[in-house]
Symmetry: C2
Amino acid sequence: MIIDCHGHYTTAPKPLEDWRNRQVEGLKNPAVTPKASELRIGDDELRESIEKNQLKLMRERGADLTIFSPRASFMAHHIGGFETSSTWAAICNELIHRVSRLFPQHFAGCGMLPQSPGVDPKTCLPELKRCVEEYGFVAVNLNPDPSGGHWTSPPLSDRHWFPIYEALVEYDIPAMIHVSTSCNPCFHTTGSHYLNADTTAFVQCLTADLFKEFPKLRFIIPHGGGAVPYHWGRFRGIAQDLKKPLLTDHLLKNISFDTCVYHQPGIDLLTRVMPVDNILFGSEMIGAVRGIDPESGHYYDDTKRYIDATPNLDEAARRRVYEANARRVYPRLDAALRTGRLRPGAQGGVTS
Amino acid sequence: MIIDCHGHYTTAPKPLEDWRNRQVEGLKNPAVTPKASELRIGDDELRESIEKNQLKLMRERGADLTIFSPRASFMAHHIGGFETSSTWAAICNELIHRVSRLFPQHFAGCGMLPQSPGVDPKTCLPELKRCVEEYGFVAVNLNPDPSGGHWTSPPLSDRHWFPIYEALVEYDIPAMIHVSTSCNPCFHTTGSHYLNADTTAFVQCLTADLFKEFPKLRFIIPHGGGAVPYHWGRFRGIAQDLKKPLLTDHLLKNISFDTCVYHQPGIDLLTRVMPVDNILFGSEMIGAVRGIDPESGHYYDDTKRYIDATPNLDEAARRRVYEANARRVYPRLDAALRTGRLRPGAQGGVTS
């Protein structure tokens, strides 16, 4: 089985965006603020938006199941306040839930949290609870910078975030550390902000002792870990200068990296540097890079090709990257697969 | 000849730090503000600080000449206003000038600019002029984020920066894009802020057309380009989606990367992905990572070892990385070497 740990619903039907635009407009002109109930998207629309996009590409490329979350750049936690994010997160998560019910063999849900700059993360707990208990989601995305590129929240090692971590540990679900749109003109959202956030999150953990406090907390750092594997020597050296334990002990029991690195040399580096158990297959399709690489003739984000081609993994290692590691890091996914709630490998389409 | 394009004066005699501390204290209590003339460091102190540190390691490791600039993390442009930075930059640059005169065969100067958040970069021009015309410096460091991790300046592609670029082009000197200390608790200075800045600067150029406006402008992006080579596919893909030219045409005529990547797999990636003409030898020693790598038994920042060991470069390519590329990117260094003003390979020590 091949599990893609990193997919966003970037192809949601247009009414979702229209609703959000009205919500944003409503921040200036409350009269136009829409009610949640005004968003109407039928199952057929949902099915079509998935069948023609993610599911089509999963079939073409050979992935069985995607851990699927709301569109990252649309989370935009910097817009409005807690109420804005709360309503928006509820809507987006419910759509993910519906997709995962329409295609239970192909999509497992991952929630967005209703974060808002300067607001206590504790306020995210009711939505997190709904995601896990009502929707059966297997993870959440956690945004280390809800300000959208101004980096005004404390580091991930700060007590500020502990209420979220306590819930994650209680539910035994991991968090993917994923920022959203940059509203700072210095940072291009998918070009620099995403990768910077990955590196930043990793170093926030490196310089602290978060996982001593939460030994069972698990983070997935996406986009191949930002700059981390490329600068692994630098990070080992900085940890050493700071008298921290070896990174394998200090961080790698708790942090995994996905494979959203869009060329062969990058995947070769990742698989050469990182222990195989810390690498989870991911593509983030349909996402940041949509074209075909003229050098390879294939989609940049068809990351399975690079993993299949790398000389650094044998068949057993590949199986861990494709399946076993994800089942270990996302135990609720593993449980669902074991109990047959998710049934990858079955024919696609709707199940009753 | 082996030219290290990236060295900072991290070992300056203690009176420099004491002077700076008094200057910073003077921002609250003007009575203690020191005059520039109160800083007294003798030639013997300068000689010793270099002989026992950088020069010792250059000899041990086999580098002949270092392009040498003030300590990056001490630039701290966020402290005080323009006057603060102006006095501080003048002092730091003068010390670099004195080092380059004491060891003319081993150090070529690179200036820091008296940047200050919210201040017009035009105010840096007198110091830049002094660096080139009086001190014979071959480059300057340009800080894309003088706020120290709050990223409040416009992107490097903005007209805001054009006065600096006009001077760089006029003098035919490159700029190394290098931030300073982070005063944002989200970012560890050498762990994430430096690397994020490298990636950010590259993407600011990618998404704009700066080098159409300034075809002769040259940037060195340090620390191996941050996350750039590891995510080269992503950046090629983003440029393609934005209808930009191929990155070789769009950026690589103007941007080079140094080799401050502190493990073999990182250098192997850099030299596999980037055209050899865009790679300049650099170590940033004595800098961010000071320990010995237990995996190799050598200093993490002894980057020459990785370049010598990589299978991706033949002898001719290595010579370009070690010398020819630097002489092309820093034509004033090349001119000085040709006219004998700098004489690498001669015995170290003072020349009259």
